[in-house]
Subunit: 475 residues, 2 copies
């Protein structure tokens, strides 16, 4: 594996027409070379764009389609970019010149739901929320809940080991995946894992593929856990704090109390101000930070009582508690406005550091320091129950210019570098849930060490000896 | 990797004195060649014995000791057998001629407990129960609870991805491990994972090492999650059924109801009879099966009510429910007597198939059929909430003979083969929690397929190119 970037080299250009012809001959109208399709494949939700368009995109409808496309690309030595719904935030699914994108977004059938075993078998293009919707009536839910769950696919959730708002209580995607079917770089189909609660036969390849960002193969089917929806009332708490530090300390106290809220989110005053500006509200008057807590399950009421008390003791100026679903939704809407509010300000680079939960307040302080030192305004929202912070870098977009053409400037990457270094100093990681993709490759060895990177490249070479599977991503 | 067995070859014999001399020169009295130590290294709790004694055992006290021993063994080309408490049930930690055992049982310090972050950092030789004992006063517990938790080490729990009684509610070992330090086959130290709740930088090497049975490296440190002990009353239910099939169906109904008991165990009439014989009781009069359910947490009382109702509706002749800890302990003691009761009958091979929870009753029927066909008596106890069954094959021991010399006869392996095939036919796995080790190697490819085994051998070669780390195990 070389650290190759996705530029068209002479070989790529020479091969591309041959590979496209062969793909069309084998797969017909499942292959597109239309400009709009190719242009869409250049980007994801990170805003990063590959330097040009890929040669073709295959909209696979079946495992056999994926196998056929992979075999043809491999025969031509053309790199493959696996693609789900394209909602990633690290550039992992972006396809550029000299590559073929293989999209599984049209493989979107729920193949099986088994309530007795609490599992579902799905194609990778099934939208996260669609699975939860399909099982809601019977009282079940698919736990992984990235903020993108209305638009992101389960295959992509698995490929990135997506997190979300409920992870401290209900786990990350990895915990919800029992088995996979994966098309490897030579076109063979590999099945991993099981349908059972337990199973320890051989290495845990299911976990290895989870979070591998398309570098080991293309996930074409998944056996996932369903979870019974928690019984009882859901209590939602909104609390305003005079400072982020106090808010973060209160969140850490809630974790340390041993209760386990389903949701615990923290928005700093810059975020609250941006939301106020976007919604025309005045929640954050005087520069307040906002904490949102939601408890569920049989202990919900008692947990809400403990959380409220700790928020008050932690210095909250106002604490609203409700078990009314409409009122709860109103409080949640504040958090949900974050991303739209940011987007009105310009192009947004959403960062994703995760620190031990006890270091949350310190990490907020570090971000404030970095903001002051670099002169950048960095609103931060955090999954406080996980120690997972999303600092937002807003890059102004010239009026009338193409938002797709926005390039993250070097001084923003310099600030992000300070951020990652601070996160790692506090015992954290440079990505809690978004992945490495293209955007964080340069920091990979800083966190993992050279030996680990070397071993991981060795693993990749076992699955993909010719380096055709999503090259230039992660490693 | 060849499918080599642990017999002394010419090279091994020639090298052994050299390697032992070098180990003693470097590590002094941490190296033992005493007969009792070497003899102990031949076996584990499976009863399987390697064909002879290893050359030496290194009782490491530190990471540096392990690194030093590995480097010396590697220099001599002598295979290494990593060893924890030696309580495994698949022969994975057994050391034979031509090998050096590296035991971490004396690396038994708890290095750090952090309640704010709900983690502990431990040396691998820390006994599972010892960690829970250390944090109990503060209201925490280490979740993984193999039946061996009073004697098994956390390093071994991780190396085998140990299960236990609480898995359906509280997960298997993998879910409790955040990060590892591992000494690789060349003596280098690799750190994997993190101290944070989330983290997706690179492949999940922590999960890869979890359950790898010593074939990729020696786990020398672990960062594990602590869990707040569930609040509220614990309810314990004991129920007797006229048939195993009815008992299994009732357990499946409890799972399907969406409640999540902490414990749900099923003992078939043969097991109950053996326990009665051992304890001088008359619980199973008339050939009854026994179901044990325990609920905890805020919803405990309500869950116990639902479970009791489903047990009665499922045909239980008698259902005892108690929230009295002493009474609860009395019911649990029935389950805990299983293994001692078996051991009075002879040498026990405890099998470990796991099927989808809805197939539990069918798997019991299959075992009954296999018992009838082969003429063997096969008492079965199951972690019914997981679909994980432990059929017990009892091999009579001649009076006065060495129990260590008992060899599992071919006709028992033939019956076990029928068992594994039936489990896999029902969508299950040949090992839910005990691992592959030596005993199940021959069935590995039946479950995984040749391609998966080939890829897994490729992964092993990345970490251990010379095949020195626990050769002859798993692969």
């Amino acid at each position: 594996m070389t650290d190759q970037t996705l530029v068209t080299d002479a070989a790529g250009t020479r091969e591309s027409s041959g590979v496209v012809d062969d793909l069309v001959a084998a797969l017909g109208d499942r292959v597109s070379t239309e400009a709009a399709d190719l242009e869409r494949m250049r980007g994801d939700k990170s805003g990063w764009l590959s330097p040009g368009r890929c040669e073709a995109v295959v909209f696979a409808r079946s495992i056999e389609d994926v196998q056929s496309a992979v075999r043809i690309a491999a025969r031509h030595g053309v790199p493959i970019v696996p693609r789900g719904a394209g909602t990633g935030l690290a550039g992992a699914a972006t396809a550029g010149p000299g590559t073929v994108a293989i999209s599984v977004e049209r493989m979107d059938r729920i193949l099986e739901i088994d309530y007795d075993d609490e599992i579902a078998v799905v194609e990778p293009g099934v939208i996260n929320q669609a699975l939860s919707d399909a099982v809601a009536e019977r009282g079940y839910v698919f736990s992984p809940d990235p903020a993108s769950k209305a638009i992101s696919s389960i295959g992509g959730n698995i490929a990135t080991d997506a997190g979300g708002l409920l992870c401290a209580k209900y786990g990350v995607t990895r915990e919800a995946v029992l088995g996979l079917a994966v098309v490897l770089a030579d076109g063979t189909l590999l099945r991993t894992g099981r349908r059972t609660v337990k199973g320890v036969t051989g290495y845990d390849l299911t976990a290895l593929f989870t979070g591998s960002e398309g570098t080991l193969g293309i996930i074409v089917e998944a056996t996932v856990r369903l979870r019974p929806i928690a019984q009882g009332l859901v209590a939602t708490i909104g609390a305003f704090f005079p400072s982020t530090t106090a808010a973060a300390a209160a969140c850490s106290a809630i974790t340390a109390s041993g209760i386990r809220p389903a949701v615990m989110e923290l928005m700093d005053p810059l975020s609250v101000a941006a939301i106020d500006a976007y919604r025309g509200t005045a929640l954050g008057e005087g520069g307040q930070a906002f904490v949102l807590v939601q408890t569920d399950g049989a202990g919900s009421a008692e947990e809400a009582e403990i959380a409220s008390r700790l928020l008050v003791e932690g210095g909250a100026g106002r604490v609203d508690v409700t078990t009314d679903p409409v009122e709860g939704e109103r409080l949640l809407a504040i958090r949900r406005s974050m991303h739209p509010a940011m987007e009105t300000l310009g192009h947004v680079l959403i960062e994703d550091v995760c620190v031990p939960r006890s270091r949350l307040a310190e990490m907020f302080d570090e971000i404030a320091r970095i903001g002051a030192e670099t002169g950048l305004t960095i609103p931060v929202v955090a999954h406080a129950g996980d120690g997972n912070l999303h600092p937002n870098f807003v890059i102004p977009v010239e009026p009338g210019s193409d938002p797709g053409s926005v390039v993250v400037p070097d001084h923003v990457w310099a600030a992000a570098d300070l951020l990652f270094q601070a996160g790692m100093r506090l015992g954290g990681t440079l990505t809690g849930e978004h992945g490495v993709g293209v955007l964080k490759r340069r920091w990979l060895a800083d966190e993992l060490g050279e030996r680990s990177v070397e071993l991981q490249r060795g693993i990749k070479a076992v699955f993909d000896p010719d380096g055709l599977m999503n090259p230039g991503k992660v490693y």
